[in-house]
């Protein structure tokens, strides 16, 4: 299996203190990796570095074997999908929220509509399309946030505690749906979590971070 992303010799400091130090990490194409560890272990920082939203002090990120520095930030980010713990939807309709990343990429209207329709159906949110984002429940909003990332057909999908803000019932339902959907996307996925059930349900392998370093790396 080939490598999609490789991290080498990475160091991120905050206020002079190292918060993430990774000598080497490979993400194989199509695999789902869980990122576990206590609060402050560096999980979100790693995801934001991989999204090129935090600049490391040093280190290389290789995408398909090529240094990612050859790509502009925007062009690099247009190959990824990012979902945070809070959905962070915009004050517009559900449909427009899901399509926004496609608009940023100037995807033609028909193609954009086709992709949005496909994903609202797969995530069971067709009935919400015309609703304003502000009227959604937490679970509905997170489904919209996932659809917004999936329609982009990302090579790398980064999920930062995507179930963290949901109640138990909603979390169970969304976990069940995501378990069925993730393998169909072909995206290499890295998600952070505190919950072993999410690791067991979704991940092929897990990385445990502690104090900004990889503590263990194991198959699930």
């Amino acid at each position: 299996m080939s490598t999609l992303v490789e991290i080498r010799n990475l160091l991120v400091r905050r206020a002079g203190r190292p918060v993430l130090e990774i000598d080497h990490l490979s993400l194989e194409k199509g695999r789902v990796l869980a990122l576990v560890g206590p609060n402050g272990a560096g999980k979100s920082t790693l995801l934001l570095v991989l999204a090129r939203l935090i600049k490391p002090e040093r280190g290389d990120i290789l995408l398909n074997g090529q240094p990612a520095t050859g790509l502009r930030d925007r062009d690099y980010r247009r190959r990824i999908g990012l979902v945070m713990q809070d959905p962070l939807l915009l004050d517009m309709s559900v449909y427009d929220n899901i399509a926004i990343g496609l608009r940023f990429r100037h995807v033609p209207g028909l193609e954009s509509a086709r992709r949005v329709e496909a994903w609202v159906e797969r995530l069971g949110i067709q009935h919400l399309k015309t609703r304003k984002a502000a009227t959604l429940s937490g679970g509905e909003a997170q489904r919209v946030a996932l659809a917004r990332a999936f329609v982009l057909q990302p090579e790398l999908l980064l999920l930062d505690e995507p179930f963290g803000a949901l109640d138990k019932k909603t979390r169970t339902e969304l976990l069940r749906d995501l378990k069925a959907l993730l393998p169909t996307t072909g995206a290499t996925t890295l998600f952070s979590t505190h919950d072993d059930r999410e690791v067991n349900a979704l991940a092929d392998s897990k990385i445990e971070l502690a104090d900004g370093k990889i503590h263990t790396e194991s198959s699930v």
């Binding site: 939203l53 990012l82 915009l90 517009m92 926004i100 940023f104 990429r105 917004r148 982009l152």
Partner: protein, 218 residues
């Protein structure tokens, strides 16, 4: 009777033109500058924000004095012959309104969740697309900034009087005309002009509020 007077029509149109242009220029300065202050971190940013916030309370008469000294024939740019022209009033009103629009723009954008910017960039937005998206997200307070900017200049009298000179058919606007009529003891005319000024302010703010609230329902 007052409303059939061509002089009244002339000064009303001049008031709208001068204050409208000053607000537009202030928006062109304040929106990008306020955005820069809200989204960027650089040395001296806090000092700059404090100066802008202080500028929001600039007394128009002090602005008028400074602009008059600058544009005066013997002043640094006296050769441009701008003193006692509508352009001089616009310059003074921009100095009054630009800090208002800048400060309220910065406050509106700082009130948004800072993670929203990261999320938009993470969705592949260019810097421009990110800024346009957060402007859209903050459209209600940004329209309020525009209204506050317009309100600060349509109602000011000190600067317009000092740099415009209240010259009939040239620089007389509603506020300076009200002062003139009051000084002449023509209270009925002054009250009528005052009502006209209030009516114009109401209509323009009504239109902006309608746009604002329509935006909030979408």
């Amino acid at each position: 009777m007052l409303f059939n007077n061509p002089d009244v029509l002339e000064i009303t149109l001049l008031s709208i033109k001068v204050s409208g242009l000053a607000t537009l220029i202030s928006l062109l300065i304040g929106l990008p500058f306020g955005t820069l202050l809200a989204l960027s971190k650089f040395p001296g940013r806090s000092v700059l924000l404090t100066l802008i916030n202080t500028g929001m309370a600039l007394p128009p008469v002090v602005v008028g004095l400074a602009v008059a000294m600058t544009l005066w024939r013997s002043g640094p740019v006296g050769g441009l012959h701008l003193i006692y022209t509508p352009a001089a009033i616009i310059i003074a009103q921009v100095i009054i309104a630009a800090p208002v629009v800048t400060g309220l723009t910065a406050a509106a954008l700082q009130a948004l969740d800072p993670r929203l910017r990261l999320q938009l960039l993470g969705l592949g937005a260019s810097r421009l697309q990110m800024v346009l998206s957060i402007w859209r997200e903050a459209r209600l307070p940004l329209l309020a900034a525009l209204m506050a900017g317009f309100g600060s200049v349509i109602s000011e009298v000190g600067a317009s009087m000092m740099v415009g000179g209240n010259i009939r058919h040239q620089t007389r606007v509603l506020t300076t005309a009200i002062v003139l009529e009051t000084n002449k003891g023509e209270f009925a005319s002054a009250i009528a002009l005052g009502i006209l000024l209030l009516l114009i302010t109401f209509l323009i703010n009504f239109a902006l509020t309608w746009i604002q609230q329509r935006g909030s329902k979408r």
